[in-house]
């Protein structure tokens, strides 16, 4: 049975939904982008983002297609701990809350996480960090692009290449037109769409089947899913926790939000986003546990969420899932395009290639890089290599090795720069080794542990004073000439 025959939704309806939302996002991108002519407006929404939009953008960006599709899959495969383990992803958002306040206070003129590492630890650490950060960004972009093509194909039968091209093209289009303002504005609407879709599906599952029937059916057919002492699941839980913290601590996706939030908003926005995000994987996972009660035959575990929804709601359910998936993909892809673009503009284009670039040149370069990233992602997604989709999991060791250099660099005055470099390099190497020697579920754990040992030991043995005022470095573009 091919995917077109097994698709839940008619391709014409799929195309109509994609077209409708694409027009809406591009229109909003154009509308919000009208006042984003200057660099700070385009890349950081003028650094005045309030609590509502700040909370929604942090939340929507962290709800990727993985949250809506993989959380049910994990619940279906490893049960209760799969749901709870996934919801621990919120710890990264919660822990970043105090960092966001500190970042905004220490670097009122900052643009990127690269700016911080360069000033705090010097050029060697900066280049190692950039390599990790860009590798991770590319991994995330490719995994989202491929997920877009695969999920749209599975839900509607629309060919993989068409679906992948549409999702990438639309995200590039509205991010290009409206910059960070378009990203944040659409994230708010996308967050609401995801939440409402999930609430409708969960309420229907409770109303149509009920807790007692779901619990009894799982207990009869898959009792291991309700087991609270499942060792592999507990290991997954800790690895997922560290992977999530590493992703958030280092990535410019989260730093650019910290720079863009109005003074005093960062802590509240990240805390609230973490608290509101935490229950989402539990609710999404619960839907998957309805499978035994519904007597569903699930051919592929990653389609468990849409299948339960379609069973409960018919074609309407499939429409709800498509809108949720499209929103989840767009809210992450746009953020990644915008944040990676400014990272490349500031840390590579201006700091390595064109030190005297004007604000207008940087604004233009940011737009071109958004297009370039879209094209590169499309090229890498086109062959549909599953090994590339797994690239993101592969980056776990790398991102986890940045947790300690970032956190210690922000809060400890005496953190040793060489120890930070050693932490990132040795942590990544050890994590990578454990990935192949033991398994994916320990890579982040080992990477973070080795990096912590390097940073703590190096700083304890050879502490180095750092002047926090250096981080207030005035950006050349802010010296009264251009905004």
């Amino acid at each position: 049975m091919n995917a077109v025959n097994s698709a839940i939704l008619d391709p014409d309806i799929g195309w109509a939904i994609l077209a409708g939302f694409s027009v809406l996002w591009v229109f909003l991108g154009w509308y919000w982008g009208r006042s984003a002519g200057q660099l700070d407006e385009y890349v950081l929404a003028g650094r005045r983002v309030g609590l509502a939009l700040g909370t929604a953008t942090a939340m929507a960006t962290w709800v990727t297609s993985n949250t809506t599709m993989a959380a049910p899959q994990l619940a279906f495969q490893i049960g209760i701990w799969g749901m709870l383990g996934y919801s621990l992803g919120s710890i990264g958002l919660l822990m970043f809350a105090p960092l966001a306040t500190r970042i905004r206070r220490l670097m009122p003129n900052g643009y990127t996480s690269g700016d911080f590492v360069r000033i705090r630890y010097g050029h060697t650490a900066w280049r190692v960090f950039l390599a990790i950060s860009l590798f991770y960004s590319l991994g995330w972009l490719v995994s989202m692009g491929m997920a877009g093509g695969i999920l749209i194909h599975a839900l509607t039968g629309i060919p993989y290449h068409y679906g992948m091209t549409v999702i990438l093209g639309i995200c590039v289009g509205y991010t290009l037109l409206g910059g960070f303002r378009a990203v944040i504005g659409t994230d708010f609407i996308q967050a609401l769409l995801i939440l409402v879709g999930l609430i409708v599906i969960a309420f229907l599952a409770i109303q149509h089947i009920g807790f007692a029937r779901i619990h009894a059916a799982v207990l009869a057919e898959r009792p291991e899913l309700l087991n609270l002492l499942m060792p592999a699941a507990i290991m997954f839980l800790f690895n997922n926790l560290l992977f999530g913290i590493g992703e958030i601590f280092h990535s410019n996706v989260w730093w650019s939000r910290a720079f863009s939030f109005r003074e005093g908003v960062g802590f509240k926005a990240y805390t609230l986003a973490g608290l509101l995000w935490a229950p989402i994987p539990v609710v999404a996972g619960f839907v998957a546990l309805a499978v035994p009660a519904l007597n569903l035959n699930v051919p592929a575990a990653d389609m468990v969420g849409p299948m339960v929804t379609a069973k409960l709601l018919g074609a309407t359910g499939a429409v709800v899932v498509l809108i949720m998936v499209f929103s989840a993909l767009s809210s992450s892809l746009d953020s990644l395009l915008a944040a990676t673009s400014i990272l490349i503009v500031e840390d590579i284009y201006r700091r390595h290639l064109k030190p005297h670039a004007s604000a207008e040149e940087m604004r233009r370069a940011a737009a071109w890089i958004i297009v370039g990233l879209g094209v590169l992602t499309w090229i890498l997604c086109a062959p549909r290599l599953t090994t590339l989709a797994e690239l993101l999991y592969f980056t776990g060791a790398f991102v986890a090795s940045t947790i300690w250099p970032i956190a210690a660099g922000l809060f400890w005055q005496r953190t040793n720069a060489a120890a930070a470099v050693a932490g990132m390099v040795l942590g990544s190497a050890a994590g990578l080794y454990s990935y192949f020697a033991i398994g994916f579920y320990v890579a982040a754990l080992v990477g973070a542990a080795v990096s912590m040992t390097c940073v703590v030991l190096g700083t304890w043995l050879a502490p180095r004073e750092f002047d926090w005022n250096l981080l207030r470095e005035e950006h050349p573009l802010h010296k009264g000439v251009l905004p």
Binding site: R48, G50, A56, I80, I199, A278, P279
Partner: protein, 40 residues
């Protein structure tokens, strides 16, 4: 050790209650920020 029906129901109900409150809270905050001209 299996999770009981009560614990399972409470876990999902609490998670669903927070998820249901989230869009209401976000819209309320949006209106508040908009009134104070602190949207962005």
């Amino acid at each position: 050790m299996t999770i009981s029906l009560t614990a399972f129901s409470v876990l999902v109900t609490v998670a669903l209650a927070i998820t249901t409150a989230a869009p209401v809270l976000l819209i309320a905050l949006l209106i508040r920020d908009w009134k104070r001209k602190r949207l962005w």
